[in-house]
Symmetry: C2
Subunit: 256 residues, 2 copies
């Protein structure tokens, strides 16, 4: 099995080598700025690890993995805009709009999203594209809820904003590996737990959300519980899921 | 054959009945505002007419046609934003951001684009999605050129901003009708002429672009020439392209 670090290197290499359509012209620089930001690549690594555990070589899963990272990048670029979260800094450097201006940040987010679907079109059948489109729509619905502060239920908000794309990271890995619908259920139950785990730890690190409600110890306990559930789900899958298990452990104890 | 007016009614009916994903929540109202704007539906009508001429029932082509209209709607919503063209009025009513605010206008454009790719995922193979993704990226590249005023060649700008999606309207109709690559060439030559024709007439009506350079009579003459080329291309296709011919005539003489 390929380690999470090796999988991450594969994602970086694939994205570095990604040939954008020439018609993007000068906007290509901003588009690359959007996906070369040195993120943790959590979603594509989960996708690749799922695909490999389900029996597919990384080469077969990489377009789906890249598409997930591109959708994640698109969402960061648009969420950082002044009209939304108004963030000038992202991963220690200027956010897209702070660096390239609002107009190009809007267009760049659009291009990242369109490029994601160009990646999913490398598959002979439409399941990866459908899974990603539905997850993206759910994520957008979550961001809409978030900015309007209409949500009293943190779990609902996070299930949309974070959980949908995490679940799709597992789902797209399964489709890319050509796992049949009937065999997907236990994997998908694992995917549901993953997003929750990620979000709780995120809130602990940002000192908001679950942290604000449950306190540091309470939130850490919830994260440990979610990690336990995720490992139980993995144990129910008839495959070598050791790398996914390692990812769960890493997510539970991460400090950035 | 089905008349352009009947095809347009089919598009409206399909979009009216379109089931959005429930996770969009309250944002669904804005998303519907984005594609129910009473536009001319030029692109989806061309897509349906192409598909029918190539032997496919409308039912088979409608998701592709709707996807084209959704991409067009997405581009209008984002182009109207204050950071881009800053238009408060679109088709005689408040533009998306003027009606729903900038944040929701950004999210709504995103949702229209993602919904377009959800529609293309209804096809068993990825060609419609790939064609649409590439056209969308070209269109975004064109908008980037436009706002930065880096273009001295109007034809290049319009080939991207308008032409790519017009060409894809023909291309997606061909893929939806399962026309083989080798049989697509004459149709695609027709598609190239269509976008140019539309843009020249658009400039005459808006009194800019080709109108500003060539004057009213000069631009009208160019439009007539483009319409003639388009009809010649149709004549070279071994199929009943009478409805596409009617669309060309309508585009050449339109007054709005």
């Amino acid at each position: 099995m390929t380690s999470p670090e090796q999988l991450r290197a594969l994602v970086d290499e694939y994205l570095d080598g990604l040939q954008l359509v020439p018609e993007l012209g000068d906007l290509a620089e901003a588009v690359r700025y959007g996906f070369e930001g040195g993120g943790k690549r959590v979603r594509p690594v989960i996708c690749l690890a799922t695909g490999e555990a389900a029996g597919a070589p990384a080469q077969q899963v990489l377009p789906a993995a890249a598409a997930l990272e591109l959708v994640h990048s698109f969402s960061l670029v648009h969420d950082d805009l002044p009209a939304l979260d108004n963030d000038e800094i992202r991963r220690g450097r200027p956010s897209m709009w702070a660096r390239f201006g609002e107009a190009d940040a809007i267009l760049t987010g659009d291009a990242l999203l369109a490029e994601a679907f160009r990646q999913t079109a490398f598959y002979p059948t439409p399941e990866v594209a459908r899974e990603l489109a539905e997850a993206t729509l759910g994520m957008i619905g979550g961001q809409h809820l978030d900015i309007h502060g209409e949500v009293h239920d943190l779990a609902t908000l996070h299930r949309l904003k974070t959980g949908r794309l995490f679940a799709a990271s597992v789902g797209c890995g399964l489709w890319a590996a050509e796992v049949s619908v009937t065999d997907q259920l236990p994997w998908r139950q694992f995917g549901e737990e993953l997003g929750l785990l990620f979000q709780i730890v995120d809130d602990v690190l940002d000192e908001d959300g679950y942290f604000a409600i449950h306190g540091a110890d309470g939130a850490r306990a919830l994260a440990a519980e979610a990690a336990g559930h995720a490992q139980e789900r993995l144990a129910a899958i008839d495959a070598d899921t050791s790398v996914l298990g390692e990812i769960v452990t890493d997510l539970a104890v991460r400090t950035k």
